[in-house]
């Protein structure tokens, strides 16, 4: 069962969005988030929603799959909505005891919620359509200029991709340890919270030990394969921006420019 786990939230289909260069996608998402905070009126939100809707449709990721990603934030959504709706002054629409709903409150609450929803969908579309490994690669290359001022960008990216590689291995290891402890009569399911937390110790200790052993082995294997950090390293899959990427980027810039114009023009 542990073999079937998928890493991150990648939704594996082939679509024009999936095929885009990860750097372009990361930049687009950053631009989209910025745009969401620039937009402040109804037309703007309709535009932002339409743009995202188009991207979702092209990506072939099912709507249900995307909506599931919203579940964890429902609470935050309700919370911000209520705060905004009751706290902002303006013309009173309804009165519920000491609580007042004003027109401005209603507007702001609605805008805030839509903004949050679009933000979550927008960013999760990035992780739905880009494998973790491509994301790290894209990040490494986007952050490359920072390495000139001493930020260890290669090392950070290497650490991230090795963690991705070893999550399943460590999960298998955990599984083994749990089974071994259970075979000796360990009980992980009963007792109160403290008792259960305590019963994790005999799992965590051997897990740490094996993580260290794996790390030592891996370091040895990497050295044997001539690894010596990021210097003079080449990559097999050089990232190339193709015409599709350019069109996608152009569309994004257009959208971004439109939101700014809308804001200034108002």
């Amino acid at each position: 069962m542990i073999r079937d786990i998928t890493l991150g939230q990648y939704y594996s289909v082939d679509s024009p969005i999936h095929r885009r260069d990860p750097r372009i996608k990361i930049l687009s998402v950053v631009m989209y988030i910025a745009a969401l905070f620039i937009v402040e009126n109804f037309i703007g939100f309709v535009m932002a929603a339409a743009a995202l809707g188009l991207a979702v449709a092209v990506s072939k990721v099912p709507i249900g799959f995307i909506m599931r990603g919203l579940k964890p934030i429902i609470f935050i959504l309700i919370f911000t909505f209520s705060i905004n709706i009751f706290m902002i002054n303006g013309r009173v629409l309804w009165k519920l005891g000491f609580l007042e709903v004003t027109d401005n409150g209603l507007y702001t609450a609605a805008f805030m919620s839509v903004r949050l929803i679009l933000l979550i969908i927008g960013t999760s579309l990035l992780t739905f359509t880009t494998t973790p490994i491509k994301l790290t690669d894209g990040m490494e290359r986007l952050l490359y200029p920072l390495s000139k001022i001493g930020v260890p960008t290669h090392e950070i990216a290497m650490m991230m991709s090795i963690s991705l590689r070893f999550i399943p291995t460590l999960m298998e290891e955990t599984d083994k340890i749990i089974k071994a402890q259970q075979a000796r009569g360990a009980d992980f399911e009963s007792g109160n919270l403290i008792a259960r937390a305590k019963s994790l110790v005999p799992i965590l200790v051997p897990l740490f030990v094996s993580a260290f052993r794996i790390a030592l082995d891996l370091a040895m294997a990497m050295e044997a394969r001539c690894y010596s950090g990021g210097k003079n390293r080449t990559r097999m899959n050089g990232m190339k921006i193709n015409s599709g990427d350019l069109i996608f980027m152009a569309a994004n810039i257009l959208f971004f420019a439109a939101t700014i114009t809308l804001r200034i023009w108002r």
């Binding site: 890493l7 298998e172 040895m220 044997a224 990559r235």
Partner: protein, 279 residues
């Protein structure tokens, strides 16, 4: 014939805590490895096999003595990368030597490290994966593969660096019989294509397939020769805490009963042939 590896009076100590007493893992080994040969190294747990392997590609440097790989001193900092490229290494645990979450990226890791051009890396990766018959798995994640398949990917990762010699440190120890068989067949194919092979193993049936067998005991080489010669010393091998191949064991017992069996009967197939023709 030319030698690819030359070891002269090698001694290696592991430093111990407090720095006073050391653990001498290799106690004076001199050895030459011929280009293109297939050498099996056997010895019981803790006899120093892995230590020797790590010394051969410069992961450790000798405490005393020298090791030359293609005339480069492994202790010479200027040639570490040449040494490691020439003498590749495959380790025992298939999980702990794969770096990337995509098979082909993992195979590309070595050539990327030595700054090979992208097109050239692509050609090498494809060839290496085909050589180990893992081409169709090139986009899979390592954790979806069986142990034998992972080990083949690890071999491909070494092959992509175009080594002249590969040191296998118990590559089949953690595999099932099918995985063992596949990996061993690939090792033999690579050797047939001219790659010098050093195979550290605990399996006697693997060792008998080599051209040369070295038996290490407690940091020293106690027997060295072709399999027939080495396994004719069945008693010494047993004293070193090792088994002898079944066919050899059988031959020894049959000889005691007065049946004349030639010394070069060491594999099961040889034995079967011999018995069928025996009158």
């Amino acid at each position: 014939m030319e030698n690819i590896i030359r070891i002269e009076n090698l001694i290696f100590d592991y430093p111990r805590e407090e720095g006073k007493d050391v653990l001498r893992a290799i106690k004076g080994i001199s050895l030459d490895i011929e280009k293109g040969s297939f050498t099996a190294v056997i010895g019981r747990n803790g006899s120093g096999k892995s230590t020797l392997a790590k010394l051969l590609n410069g992961l450790y440097v000798p405490t005393e003595g020298v090791i030359y790989v293609e005339n480069w001193d492994t202790a010479d900092d200027n040639h570490v990368w040449d040494v490691r490229q020439t003498a590749g290494m495959v380790f025992q645990n298939p999980d702990n030597q794969l770096v990337s979450s995509i098979v082909e990226d993992d195979v590309a890791f070595g050539p990327e490290n030595i700054g090979t051009a992208p097109d050239e890396i692509r050609t090498r990766v494809n060839k290496a994966l085909n050589d180990v018959r893992m081409g169709e798995y090139r986009l899979k994640a390592p954790h979806m593969l069986s142990g034998g398949q992972k080990q083949r990917v690890a071999i491909a990762g070494v092959l992509a660096m175009k080594p002249k010699c590969i040191i296998f440190d118990e590559p089949t120890a953690m595999l099932d019989p099918k995985g063992r068989h596949d990996v061993l067949r690939i090792i033999k194919n690579l050797n047939a294509e001219g790659i010098t092979t050093i195979l550290i193993t605990h399996f006697m049936d693997e060792a008998v397939q080599a051209d040369r067998v070295l038996i290490i005991n407690d940091g020293e080489i106690i027997l060295d020769g072709n399999p027939a010669e080495v396994f004719s010393h069945a008693d010494e091998i047993k004293d070193a805490g090792l088994d002898v191949p079944v066919a050899v064991e059988l031959a020894v017992r049959l000889r005691k009963r007065g049946i004349k069996i030639p010394d070069d009967v060491i594999t099961v197939e040889d034995m079967v042939d011999f018995i069928c023709q025996y009158k």
